[in-house]
Symmetry: D2
């Protein structure tokens, strides 16, 4: 941390600030410029809260130097983390495609979708049993019944399943059915929930909040990692901007940046990231070209009858075409599908 003193800060103010910093177990390094004094803080290994210092007399502002995440950082863990899920290796050379409906609606619907996406080459089945919906009057998911359907279809197809968990008290239940626990965008900073999945014995797919910085996403991962679960998969799913033709703005730079900053696998959700099925194929190709470790794609056999997010779901035939079009792109960047 750097403390920038105000122009005209008094010696007494500088002394107070340095005393306070030393009291917190850090050392200081004072640099007197022509206009201002700058105080460098040499840490003791533990992160320091900048804000109380900012409030001291004579201080103009403080500037963070170190990244606030550690376990999630590539500096701490230089090699790529690979998360194995029933024989699927997430974060390895092979791309991992997770596909399925937004919401589990019935056994027939899920089984039909699962068979279609499996035969097109998908590796993991997605489907929501608990659905976060902006309206209390919208379909909220089948709940435990949906989880049972997911497990049944896993038996029938061999595809591992990823499904969302929305509350800490649901974690034990969802863990008994799911292979991967998904934390949705709206819950990225639901710390009680992060804590709970940090203690669960399952990989976690952590979606970036729609208005979260990459640093905050990595801090959310840090919560999970610091509670003992090191199988975290990051997911870019678009952020909220002023643009109105798309539901969200997919942040493609997030893919290489997360790979540089962190060792965790990064997958991309082009369905929520765009909100329009016509954009899913080109954006999926872009994600693979940018270095993503996989994709999370909504597929529904009858999108016009879907109980949620029909507008962004691909039909199975389109999904199969997408998978074929991804293959040469994957190969072009040294990956397999």
């Amino acid at each position: 941390m750097i403390v920038v003193m105000k122009q005209g800060a008094t010696s007494a103010q500088i002394v107070n600030v340095t005393a306070r910093i030393e009291q917190l177990g850090c050392r200081v390094h004072i640099s007197e410029g022509e206009e201002r004094t700058i105080i460098g803080v040499i840490g003791n290994g533990r992160p320091l809260d900048r804000r109380p210092i900012e409030r001291m007399d004579g201080v103009e502002r403080t500037v963070p130097i170190l990244r606030p995440f550690k376990l999630a950082s590539r500096e701490f863990h230089p090699k790529n983390t690979v998360v194995p899920v029933n024989g699927v290796m997430i974060g390895g050379k092979q791309l991992v495609v997770m596909a399925g409906p937004c919401a589990v609606e019935s056994h027939d619907q899920l089984l039909e979708t699962a068979r279609a996406v499996k035969s097109a080459g998908a590796h993991v089945l997605r489907g929501g049993a608990f659905k976060p919906r902006t309206s209390p009057y919208s379909f909220q998911g089948l709940g435990e019944e949906g989880l049972r359907i997911l497990a049944a279809v896993r038996e029938e197809t061999g595809l591992p399943v990823v499904t969302e968990v929305m509350a800490p008290q649901q974690v034990p239940l969802v863990t008994t059915y799911a292979d991967i626990l998904q934390i949705g965008a709206r819950n990225m900073q639901n710390y009680a929930l992060l804590h709970a999945v940090g203690e669960a014995q399952r990989p976690v797919l952590l979606k970036r909040g729609m208005m979260s910085t990459l640093e905050e996403l990595l801090m959310a991962a840090e919560y999970i990692l610091s509670h003992g679960n090191d199988r975290v998969i990051l997911c870019e799913r678009g952020i909220r901007t002023f643009e109105q033709y798309t539901r969200n703005t997919l942040d493609i730079s997030a893919v290489p940046l997360l790979k540089q900053l962190s060792h965790l696998p990064v997958i991309v959700d082009p369905s929520h990231g765009t909100g329009k099925w016509r954009l899913v194929e080109p954006v999926s190709r872009a994600a693979v070209a940018a270095g993503a470790d996989g994709l999370l794609i909504e597929v529904h056999p009858h999108p016009e009858e879907a109980l949620s997010d029909g507008a962004q779901s691909l039909k199975p035939a389109r999904f199969a075409e997408l998978m074929q079009s991804l293959e040469p792109v994957a190969e072009a960047v040294g990956r397999t599908l």
Copy 2:
């Protein structure tokens, strides 16, 4: 809802869409323009999910006409809702000021603050026992010990207390201690939590998410209202933008707009809304002038030693000055303090 068909949509496509809409229990009204056909949907009183329709062949897009919230709307409930809390009337002619530290740190700290803010004229004591923090390594609050301190200080000062609840399973515990349950910005779309406080017997202070539209805030209120709790207080606390000199951008228009759209009381948090104590006083005056029903202000006796958010906390003497400066502004807009 309006369905805009593509230029060149076929009659068969138009027939399919109208059949689908009628199947959902609605009536249609077709309008053929020079370039496109527009299908007006006349509802059956229940909200309709637009997205599956959007996915049908020949449809370009759909346009919502009705607001998706009902119980929260002023059309449904024309009179202002007033929420009574231990004799304090939130949403009435008198402004309500809630003040106190970001986090409860000790009995002494809270009592000192409470006495100071009470003597300056505050009506409610704020203080966090469970703290949502972006870093797992930051102070997470005193937990139940913090709740006990809040209750003790309420006894000693007579000030009702507002404190945050972060998880559904904490609701019963927090309800036994607090007069108002606070839902933090990061949890505005934590639907399991909204459901839980919707069933609690306490007023709820609902903070706007930093990434949320006003419509989403009102939909979050609708969750709580629809689960039976009609004592909801809305709180504008700044949204995230590209501006970097402030922590958030306080959306001042939200105050009159929420008052027009809804009957619920609206309070403003200038401390989080700006992140800088020097801005708290002018922005508090602005909030009152814009028609807010109250303020939520961080006050700490020693901000430079605060365990969280020292940078935006006022010292008691500054807070007293603020209260004095608010009085003529309140009077200028026909309110009392």
Copy 3:
């Protein structure tokens, strides 16, 4: 500027960076932390471009310390600047209200409006002769004819006029008619235009770009000031966010922050800042309470027939009510109207 070296940066890299900085006429101050070396740069009074340094081997990033604006800063010029315009003092104790139609449409329309706003207490007449419109098919303003009407109405009413100039080559023409040159939000970073008005002999009303930070606004002011024109008036008019109920999000904190950072007068445009006439009155009151030096308000005698921005224009009777409601608020913060 602070240069943060990468973890593991070599001595040779550190030497290279310091050599490069010294070559640019600055001194360095090296601080070796436990994980990283930090190089403080002590300037020679001229601003330094950080980006080339950022590109050097071993550098992780650079951090600016000094504000990049000087002539616009309060540190450079501690007293408030007051801009006199035909006897109206902008930035003094008295608030200045500029009112009038978005676009000049005819002599009758402007004269009717001018008389109405003058009798309600406005000090300056606004009206666009050159209109920046997102569509090439929308009304683009009356051009020089509009300027002549403005000048004629000034003669008839005694109100000084403010009007927009959109291109460098228009500056001489507009200067012959207008008392204040307005730079619109879309042109805030039109540097050729800023240069031109910097050399003009007229006060300049500089609107914040809808996508601009406050630092960029102050840098745009710096362009004008550095070309010799010290009569710059800053104008907050709302920024673009994800919120959709309002046209822009008025950044109320900008008012006190600009007053703290700069000596220039700050006025607020609640008409563009909200886009809805129903919000103009409460947001105007908020702006005054936050410390604005004045307001820029759209008034049109027949908004439903206006050729532009009718949705945000007040009718004269509403404007008169607004002026009355502002008086006690102005008084409450020690200003007059």
Copy 4:
């Protein structure tokens, strides 16, 4: 356009609105719902300003139905536009790569860069002679001297050149030297400039404003097209968001969306779009995979000595590697390089 009347709007209000619409030469279609009356407006081919209608008594809001751009739309011009520049076909099957320094600094610097990028496979040379800089104290470009250097290097290498024009009065001068006129992001809504290049006899590279919607970008293109110049190339270069690790957030969905909405070629600028040279390669690959018609890339032989934007410039050797890595991606999506 759809006009949504307020709940409880009177018959007289509805009659007034329909009369006003008919007076504007349009027909109406009235639909009475259970709660509200909706008035559909059937146009006369010319765009209609919604805002004055919005201001009429009884109107709640209006909803646009048609896109406001016409000449730029794919509906109007279904085939892809291909812009030929000295034998390079922009928008054809072959991708077009424009590369070179941010600013022209000297003949030697530009020639060295031009030879390097040409031998790596670039098709067009970029370089700024007039530089828009946020600070008046930063290097503003060599001006006409820079243009002469560009023309000389074109002679020596055969590469056509693209360079920015910042003001209407510069258009004739820049046109005598440049093969493509660039409109920078800050000038995307500088309508006087769009008008001027609309009348110039040169292709125009139009960069998206950093806070502009795609609709606004297409409206800016419409300005140029409507003034007679049909050789417009769109450029996505990142938009401003709250994310702070990158300079801008490159909107990858813009590529397929612009190709769907418009017939104009679309190129991507990953250098400004990310601001970090380490991200240029993966994001370039993503742009090609998403369907971009070309790339605009900053290359500088000595980025650490560059007079502007060194942090995002590639060295020639890196650029050559990038070109090689693009080839298989281009092939994977059916393009050549």
